[in-house]
Point group: C2
Chain length 417, copies 2
């Protein structure tokens, strides 16, 4: 059997460790030249496949590929672009096969979250539906931590470490100022539907900090929340609120919505923090500060979790190993064997069970009042933020890599998206 080429692409919102998965994919593929001739990366995700804009990763040095392990963002460009079903848009699938054939691509590695798992699953069906043999493997990634089956999703552990650390540092700050100045600090974190990232902010309660967390899973009750804030400030002299961007009223309205939607139809959120801060100020007059971490949180490779980086790499590596072993329509997963000490291994799940399933915070991870996390949640979270994995620095700043990203010569005509 002659070696086939592999297609690899990054999809959806990038993270601080998605390139570590890319590194795992490419380094493992390079170790099996008898099975995988070359890895072609899609420029800007699946769009690179549709437009035949492929990047020749063979032209990148081993050193630069290794540097992906500590470089945040998507080195090949990502995209927000969801394939329709085969019935709804056969033209796109025909094009994919045309490109795969032209470039001898037999493996499809898609590195993304829930929507991407769906795309990957559709591609995995091409063999049967359109007669072209391609093995599709989904490499999980999402700061939202909302993929099912896997213990956690690469990207999440590092965001959790960043948010917990930042909330702790801000809490120390506010505590210093609260006698005569700021009494309330509100930090807004990502998480449209699932409160995993917000839960990380709640960890600072373990260091005596009076934190209230607002989860998307708990409907917002202004009166009850304000009473809880007042109780914290009266007991501690200050209060910290960690609010998820997805926090919403019982009727579904988000605390703040900018009114725009992304390509997947999700509302683009942001601005819950100032809403909450002003609400508290109006009620009690407390002086406040607020922060919106936004991209800073998911890009913060300088504070990555070591276990997250290791898992991101291992899942990329496992994706290639699963492909070589002949698997299709599959996602490598993290399987937790023990929380203390944290012991994990790589498993796998069929994409049919992954695609379009969202994993929310279990009810027993949230305290009865809805503003904190339970010991069960702590046991889950702490292992994921363990260890530091600092990037190298040069001139005072992290030395991240920008690849050459040389295109593979095209063989086909244009394709209109």
């Amino acid at each position: 059997m002659t070696a086939k080429n592999a297609f690899y692409a990054q999809s959806g919102g990038v993270t601080s460790v998605i390139n570590a998965s890319a590194c795992g994919v490419i380094e493992t593929a390079r170790a099996h030249p008898d099975k995988i001739a070359n890895v072609y990366a899609g420029r800007n995700g699946i769009i690179g496949a549709l437009t035949e804009d492929l990047i020749d990763t063979n032209l990148e040095s081993a050193e630069n590929i290794a540097a992906l392990r500590y470089t945040p963002s998507g080195a090949f460009g990502s995209c927000r672009y969801k394939l329709k079903s085969l019935e709804a848009n056969k033209r796109e699938y025909d094009r994919l096969i045309e490109v795969f054939k032209a470039h001898n691509i037999g493996y499809f590695f898609y590195n993304g979250g829930g929507d991407s798992a769906d795309t990957c699953y559709k591609v995995s069906q091409l063999s049967a539906a359109l007669g072209y043999p391609v093995q599709a493997i989904h490499v999980p990634k999402t700061v939202d931590n909302d993929l099912p089956i896997t213990d956690n999703c690469p990207g999440f552990g590092s965001v959790a470490k960043y948010i917990a650390t930042s909330t702790l540092e801000a809490a120390f700050d506010v505590r210093s100022m609260s006698a005569t100045s700021t009494k309330i600090f509100v930090i807004e974190v990502m998480g449209r539907h699932a409160g995993w990232i917000a839960a990380a902010g709640a960890l600072v309660a373990d260091q005596g900090m009076p934190v209230l967390t607002l989860f998307p899973e708990v409907e917002f009750d202004q009166e009850r929340f304000l009473a809880a804030v007042k109780a914290k400030v009266e007991a501690h002299g200050f209060g910290i609120v960690c609010v998820s961007e997805g926090c919403h009223y019982p009727d579904g309205r988000f605390l703040a919505e900018q009114g725009t939607r992304d390509a997947f139809g999700h509302a683009q959120l942001g601005g819950a923090a100032p809403v909450v801060a002003n609400m508290i100020k109006d009620a009690f007059g407390y002086k406040f500060h607020w922060a919106v971490a936004d991209y800073l949180q998911r890009a913060a490779r300088h504070l990555a979790s070591k276990s997250d980086v290791e898992q991101a790499y291992a899942l990329g590596q496992a994706g290639v190993e699963l492909a070589i072993a002949g698997h299709n329509a599959i996602m490598p997963t993290v399987v937790r064997k023990s929380s203390s000490p944290y012991v994990w291994e790589i498993g796998h799940a069929p994409l049919s069970e992954v695609a379009n399933v969202e994993k929310f915070m279990p009810a027993d991870f949230i305290t009865a009042d809805g503003y904190g996390i339970t010991d069960k949640c702590r046991e889950y979270l702490y292992p994921l933020i363990q260890g530091e994995d600092y990037p190298p620095y040069e001139n005072g700043l992290p030395r991240y890599v920008t690849l050459k990203n040389v295109p593979v010569p095209r063989k086909l005509g244009d394709f209109a998206l």
Copy 2:
């Protein structure tokens, strides 16, 4: 001569390294028991002196005092409280002397920014004005970097490192997403009047990132700014804006003002980022994300600059050494001997030349278009962000110290602020 006690207090907005200065003060004082019997810290800054709420630092272990070197925030509490002039409020000065006498305090170490230098200068005049011998030393601190004479101010280098790193990471992120999604990222940074922190964001231009910086020193011109944004996006596919909270229109109006003022009369700012982001969206329809770092930037001890930490400690140490040498009304300073390699030494300046003087960005640090920094500014900034000085971690989070803060038994009656 019997040893006298020292009073030490933290004032104004805290930083990630002000406790490193506290560490320098206390460790150096402990090394000179013949001169300084004990360091009493003011609980919540100067308010602790006025209300006779003193903290006995002798009751803190050497290990915990050493841990202050890597703990952000103000370990003894800070305050925003400005003493009036002696003529306007003699009652407060009489009270200070009463407390100093009662606790045998002969040294006054005040750790703060411009307003605090003014307070410290007033206290230094007490010997002459009210006949009580006290030596007042100002230990500089301010993320705003706006104190005169000293090469830079402790706290600034670490914020600069954090903002430059965070802007770089976010720029990598946006670059990945820009083909089909976010094209504009706006990060708002601190700096009411001086654009030093915003200048740090401009450093990412050296890594090829299309960044526009909005300084308080440059009046905002919406039309010209939008044209510059468009040019960046058309050339690079995306754009980064680093906006100072103090950015304002020619008539003095801030881009965003929350309408409240702090005890020093400064407007409390925040929210310039969403204003700028929406302005760009309205003009060109570019999808955007924005972040407001707020306290996260000044509390980010996890990403402190090593040179900043070293200088913060050295200035605390020098403050005590100057006091022991008999100085009064003085501030230790950082003197730059060379930029490359960065060589500095400790000098000192009379408080009469420090109090109420603000150091803005020099005109030749800002590019002609007003949106970037010059090579001269780069030469100034890079040394200040050199080196990493990571805190220890435990359970995935930084292990910061919370002191016992045991009060010194009171000897006097109450005092109404």
